[in-house]
Assembly symmetry: C2
């Protein structure tokens, strides 16, 4: 029963991800998105878009990565992708993930620490696809929400294209659709 | 590209699950939980507790079920588990799930409709385990949150035990731990 008790403590502890707020509002909602509901959203997006990954991916591994990918934010907070990802913040996230996963029985802690590191490194097919999917919802929030986060944070079209073209590393097809939508946003003056 | 466009529409549409509020507050948070963040939470709980399922389960199928299990609430709303699950509400949820999944390309719509029905029926090892996991976080919220939802809704110890003992159908080990915690709550006067 000790393994179950430990795991329940982990389950309670990670609940704090529901209190980490991001920089965009879900479509139609009048509040910022939190990182827990975002994590659910990207898991479903990955599942439904898996056939468009550039390389065949083990979708279960992709989903496991996405379920835990933001846990480091419980200690480090969320940072907008257009702010340079500082090594200080990266270190805080890594320490936060380690603290949380170490609440688990050793074998699980090990498996999921390795998976989180794989996601961060972004060098496997699964990590590349997971990272591509992770970028899509904030773009949809802006595209369908009057570019609210781009405007608030003074994000330019150049920045949006340069950061998000990395979607293509996980899915050329998905980037092609998103690029078309972003180009339309530029024509419409939503993104400058 | 049409399949991607359809899937993106689905991804935007299901975002409304972030606006469906449940009856318990996450531990330490001063607001009710929404069904999207709850869905993330139970996926991770299932993943970390999979070895305690009564029967070997295909955990990827369990997680797929849990990712979509509450989609019907977008149209039907959330209902507390202690209110009798009316056939009217069940029909609304089924119609809601159908509406949403039909936004997807046909093959995906079919696969996930079947999976949702399997979860609802609760007759496979995966569905039993998924349903067991789904019951745990609201219990933790009450146990660690002064029984707030039990008190607000006048839920008795008898009701809590009779509804939640069904956790044992998915995991005897998990029910044993939760039952012990609930018995302590009765001794402490948190649950009457
Ligand atoms: Ca993040």
């Amino acid at each position: 029963m000790e393994a179950i008790e430990k795991t329940l403590n982990f389950i309670v502890e990670i609940e704090q991800l529901k209190d980490v707020y991001r920089k965009t509002r879900p479509v139609g909602l009048d509040r910022f998105e939190n990182s827990a509901e975002h994590s659910w959203h990207v898991c479903l997006a990955a599942l439904m878009l898996k056939d468009f990954a550039n390389e065949a991916v083990d979708i279960h591994r992709v989903i496991k990565m996405l379920l835990i990918h933001d846990l480091g934010e419980i200690d480090a907070g969320d940072t907008i992708i257009y702010a340079s990802e500082t090594s200080d913040n990266k270190a805080k996230e890594a320490a936060g993930v380690r603290r949380l996963l170490q609440l688990l029985p050793a074998e699980l802690a090990q498996e999921f620490t390795a998976l989180w590191q794989e996601f961060e490194a972004g060098e496997t097919a699964e990590a590349r696809f997971a990272k591509a999917i992770d970028r899509v919802p904030p773009l949809l929030h802006n595209l369908l929400g009057d570019g609210h986060s781009w405007k608030t944070h003074g994000v330019t079209a150049d920045q949006v294209f340069s950061v998000n073209q990395r979607i293509a590393a996980g899915s050329e097809a998905l980037w092609s659709v998103m690029r078309t939508r972003l180009e339309a946003a530029v024509r419409d003056g939503l993104l400058k």
